[in-house]
């Protein structure tokens, strides 16, 4: 057994399910039984229920009860058929008066035959717009007594709905169709408004006509219109509901004294003209006319396909009736042998059903007799068979004998012409608040330009915005091409509709980003920096490609060339003999050092600080040798000390080497050795030396150390330093603790510029300074001239020093000249190229 498809979500459900298990929609119609009425609204229910939801509920209840289930056995009680209760107001028993409508609730009013006016909907509490209820009350009070509502129906229909019906009724009247029933609510057994509208649209005025010439669409349940239902009285589906049109207040009806509708609700009856009359909303009654236009859409001819309900031929005339879409109106596939679509749903037919066109596209291989349709059929398409008796279920066949439901009495209402929808949607026909301002409409006060533009008085002039404010102006992005509102969509599910957003031409069109840089004011320096950054990002690869090659090739060559030049310069004196004089420039600091040594008392030793390493030994020892010789000549004893681990070792080796060479060295009375801690260790020398120097070999109690307790006991500090830092440490840490002990330093030529300031001032920290090999030579020349050697290794060294210095000077001069020449040449090339 096929599953029951939910009309809302389309998913299959078991046959015995009453509600869809996926979305909760009801699958089977509510069977109230014969003589039963829908449960009334509880009195203590919220009086201010949403009127829209109530309307929806009414519409749901009043929908024709259709389902995909096989027909149930006919109800035994002929009078309990709900369809019979849907009789027209004229032929129906007077229905029980509906309970008073709730405020804000839209209820169907009583049948037109009833003289009981609908109870004015009371105002509700918060949530219910009192104005709407008042309006409704006013509108209802201004109308003619409306027929009492059908059983189970409630009053309180909005005014606009009533007017829609009235207009439609008027239209039908003018077109010769029977007037729509005056009932404002679908009584039991009557067709709901929307259904009757569809029927009217599909059948047209010639197909069905009731009393008064009003044309009603044929009822899907049988009958061509109100009162023409061919369904038997005992039909389970009841009789055909009368076609209902919009009910409007009588044009001749004057509003009740003292009660006047607001302008926006003054509809054709109040304004005295319809359509096209000025309504409070502006323009014509576009809403009602739109609804009428929808109803006036020509119906779609039915096709050979069984409908939902079928009975005897003519019992359910669906010729041209658009099958209402809804939960209970899902079409069934055609029966077998009658052009049915194979494999689509059950193949049983309703009696009287003719195969109609399926709203769903036919499967592959379907009969060619079935036209291809879109899932969304046009309004008016007949989905029910116009006629056909074959294959009617038994339960429906029994309903064929039921007498037709009496037609409701048509309500004579003024026929209102229904304007064309296109006419209604014209810009000039739209209400004012829906219209776009145009040039003609904006002509108001003199002097005003188009809508939104303000004229500039004569006594004012256009102001100039400051630059910073101009810079803040939003950048206009690429304008999106406006869509043609009149364009009718031709593809897709929205085919046939106007004003649809076009997908591809506009939405998918690539656009530039909205935010773009406008004019940027940049300073020339900023632009130069920007250009530099750009060149750094773009050009470095080009530049780097050349430089490494040149550097890699030239550096070893230059190194070898310079080594060869210097080696030749050093060895040249060996071949040429003496080229340079021994006369050397005598710095003042050199002379001061020699003078100080000459003034030292011989009984006090000199503290010799050896602060150099093996790398600087050749340069330092040349000066150390001459100074130690001077001390030895004066008979001054020495004590060695060093803040470097290998200082004293180098000093001891120097002394031994000189003694082997026959030079006279001073007597070394003690070796304090290595003093750890750097500057901190030297700082300790300002105190008791015996507490600082922990040499087990030293005996502080015996001579000569017995007279030495602090640094102040020394006559001089002779400092041999290779780095300026060592000189600074001794000056800052030792001399500040013993300012009375002068310091004479022999330093490297590279430290001269940094140590020389210590020799300046009225009370310099360093009393004498001997700098490098040249200083040592100058000291020897001045103070020990007899030790000068005209020949020998020492003489050769001086000559080699001279030639080597000359080679360096020539090399530097050549480099400077070459750089200048190359710079000029490159500049000329740049200027030329």
């Amino acid at each position: 057994m096929a599953d029951l498809r939910c009309p809302m979500c389309g998913k299959p459900n078991p046959q015995d399910a009453n509600a869809c298990r996926f979305c909760g929609a009801r699958l089977k119609p509510m069977d109230y039984g014969k003589g039963k009425t829908p449960p009334p609204t509880p009195p203590d229910a919220a009086p201010d229920a949403d009127w829209m939801s109530d309307l929806r509920g009414d519409m749901m209840r009043n929908r024709p009860k259709t389902s995909m289930l096989p027909p149930e056995p006919p109800a035994p009680a002929p009078s309990g058929d709900w369809l019979n209760k849907l009789d027209s107001p004229s032929g129906q028993k007077p229905s029980a008066p509906a309970p008073p409508a709730k405020g804000g609730t839209v209820r169907r009013t009583a049948p037109p035959s009833s003289s009981v006016p609908p109870a004015p909907p009371p105002d509700g509490p918060a949530g219910n717009p009192p104005r709407l209820s008042n309006v409704r009350a006013q509108a209802s009070a201004g109308r003619e007594p409306a027929p009492p509502p059908g059983p189970g129906k409630e009053d309180g229909e909005p005014v606009w709905l009533k007017r829609l019906r009235a207009r439609r009724t008027q239209e039908e009247i003018t077109s010769g169709a029977p007037p729509a029933p005056a009932s404002e609510g679908a009584a039991p057994g009557e067709l709901p408004d929307w259904l009757s509208k569809i029927r009217d649209k599909s059948t047209g005025p010639s197909e069905t006509s009731g009393a008064g010439g009003t044309v009603y669409p044929p009822s899907p349940f049988g009958g061509a219109g109100p009162g023409e239902s061919d369904l038997p009285a005992e039909s389970p589906w009841g009789s055909a509901a009368p076609a209902q049109g919009p009910k409007f207040a009588d044009n001749d009806a004057a509003p009740a004294p003292g009660i006047e509708n607001p302008d926006w609700l003054k509809y054709p009856s109040d304004t005295g003209g319809f359509p096209g009359a000025e309504s409070p909303l502006g323009g014509s009654d576009w809403m009602g006319s739109m609804a009428s236009a929808i109803e006036a859409t020509p119906p779609i001819p039915s096709t050979a396909e069984p409908g939902i309900l079928s009975g005897k031929t003519g019992s359910i005339k669906t010729g041209g009736i658009g099958r209402p879409t809804g939960p209970f109106t899902e079409p069934l596939p055609p029966a077998s042998g009658s052009g049915a679509v194979p494999g689509f749903g059950p193949d049983w037919n309703f009696p009287g059903d003719a195969p109609t066109e399926s709203p769903f596209p036919p499967p592959i291989g379907a009969s060619d007799q079935l036209p291809s349709t879109s899932p969304f059929h046009d309004a008016g398409e007949s989905m029910l068979p116009s006629s056909g008796e074959e294959g009617l279920p038994d339960w429906l066949a029994d309903a064929q004998g039921e007498p037709a439901a009496p037609e409701p009495e048509p309500v004579e209402e003024a026929s209102l012409p229904t304007p064309d929808l296109n006419e209604l949607l014209r810009p000039d026909a739209l209400p004012e608040w829906m219209r776009k301002p145009t040039g003609a409409e904006s002509k108001g006060k003199p002097g005003e330009g188009p809508a939104g533009a303000v004229s500039i008085p004569e006594n004012l002039e256009q102001a100039e915005l400051p630059r910073w404010l101009e810079a803040m102006r939003p950048i206009q992005s690429v304008a999106v091409p406006t869509e043609d509102e009149e364009r009718v969509e031709s593809v897709g599910p929205l085919a046939g509709l106007r004003g649809v957003l076009s997908a591809e031409p506009v939405v998918a069109m690539p656009r530039r980003p909205g935010i773009m840089a406008g004019n940027i004011d940049a300073l020339p320096s900023q632009m130069a920096l920007t250009d530099t950054l750009r060149r750094l990002l773009i050009e470095p690869e080009v530049r780097a490609a050349h430089r490494p090659m040149r550097a890699m090739l030239l550096t070893p060559v230059i190194r070898k060339v310079m080594s060869a030049v210097l080696a030749l310069a050093i060895l040249l004196p060996m071949a040429t003999g003496s080229l340079f004089s021994t006369t050397v420039y005598q710095p003042q600091a050199n002379i001061q050092a020699g003078d100080l040594v000459n003034a030292l008392p011989p009984e006090r030793p000199v503290l010799v600080a050896l602060e150099y390493d093996a790398f600087s030994a050749p340069e330092i020892e040349s000066g150390a040798t001459v100074l130690l010789e001077h001390l030895a000549r004066r008979g001054i004893r020495t004590v060695f000390i060093s803040s470097q681990p290998n200082g004293t070792m180098l000093g001891e080796g120097l002394q031994n080497e000189n003694e082997k060479m026959g030079l006279t060295m001073p007597q070394r009375i003690a070796d304090f050795g290595y003093v750890p801690g750097g500057a901190g260790g030297l700082r300790r020398l300002g105190g008791e030396l015996s507490a600082v120097i922990h040499n087990p070999a030293l005996d502080w109690t015996k001579d000569p150390l017995s007279s030495i307790h602090t640094v102040a006991d020394f006559s001089m500090i002779l400092l041999f330093a290779a780095s300026p830092q060592s000189v600074r440490d001794w000056v800052e840490q030792v001399h500040t603790a013993s300012p009375g002990t002068p310091i004479v330093a022999m330093i490297s030529a590279s430290s001269d510029a940094l140590v020389f300031p210590y020799t300046q001032g009225s009370n310099p920290s360093i009393r004498g300074l001997v700098t490098g090999f040249a200083g040592a030579q100058a000291y020897r020349v001045h103070f020990l001239p007899d030790t000068l050697q005209a020949e020998g290794v020492a003489a050769m060294r001086w000559q080699a020093f001279g030639s080597g210095t000359l080679a360096l000077l020539l090399t530097l001069f050549a480099g400077i000249v070459g750089s200048l020449v190359l710079g000029f040449v490159r500049r000329d090339r740049k200027a030329a190229g």
Partner: protein
């Protein structure tokens, strides 16, 4: 020192000198690396020996017997410093490290102020701009004094970082300060040039001594072999 020790030392010195100087002709080669490695290794070994003897034994273990409480504190701080090597002991070794850094900073800062900054500043302010020696103005002294004054002021102006942004342009100092700073730049350039020249002279001296050592060694071995 016997002759063998002397000749051996000279030969070793000759070999190491040649290996280092081979870099000039052969760039980075095996001999150069061998000589560099020997220098590093011998220096490290000698330093280790000196530290052990001159520091641990003479400066620490020997006095420990005489002043136990103070040296125990020193032992504790030294142990905490050694623990710093361990991953979890880094926080423990922070205490002696802080002590070392603090004492070193204090010694250096105090010595710089009293031994360099103040005496140098006073020496720069002492010279007379119009010195008179024996009742006669000494032009050379006057030139020297003026150069000292001018060099000091302009060099200080060069290191002035008080430029302010002027509207949209890049920050720049005033015109007067800029002019003075340019003169100070000249003095700085001359000073750097003098330092570079001294470095060249030192290197030349060392090179001369090494070359003559090589020559001397060759001659000695030649004489010894010939003899």
């Amino acid at each position: 020192m016997t002759d063998i020790e002397l000749l051996g030392g000279m030969a070793l010195g000759f070999f190491l000198t040649v290996s280092i100087l081979s870099y000039l002709l052969l760039d980075d080669n095996l001999l150069f690396r061998l000589g560099a490695y020997c220098l590093v290794g011998v220096s490290a070994g000698y330093l280790m020996a000196v530290m052990f003897n001159s520091v641990l034994i003479e400066q620490y273990l020997s006095p420990l017997l005489n002043s136990i409480p103070l040296l125990l504190l020193m032992l504790l701080l030294g142990g905490m410093l050694v623990v710093r090597i361990l991953p979890r002991g880094s926080s423990v070794g922070s205490i002696p490290m802080a002590f070392l850094v603090g004492v070193g900073a204090a010694v250096v800062v105090g010595g710089s102020l009293t031994g360099t900054f103040i005496p140098q500043a006073m020496a720069a302010a002492e010279p007379s701009l119009f010195p008179i020696v024996s009742g006669v103005p000494d032009p050379w002294s006057m030139l020297e004094n003026w150069c000292v004054l001018l060099g000091t002021l302009t060099t200080l102006a060069y290191f002035h970082f008080g430029a302010r942004p002027q509207g949209g342009a890049a920050p720049a100092a005033g015109p007067v300060v800029s002019l003075i700073a340019r003169v100070g730049k000249l003095f700085l350039a001359v000073t750097l040039g003098a330092l570079y020249a001294g470095a060249l002279i030192s290197s030349l001296t060392i090179l001369i001594e090494r070359i003559y050592f090589l020559i001397q060694t060759i001659l000695v071995f030649a004489m010894r072999s010939g003899a």
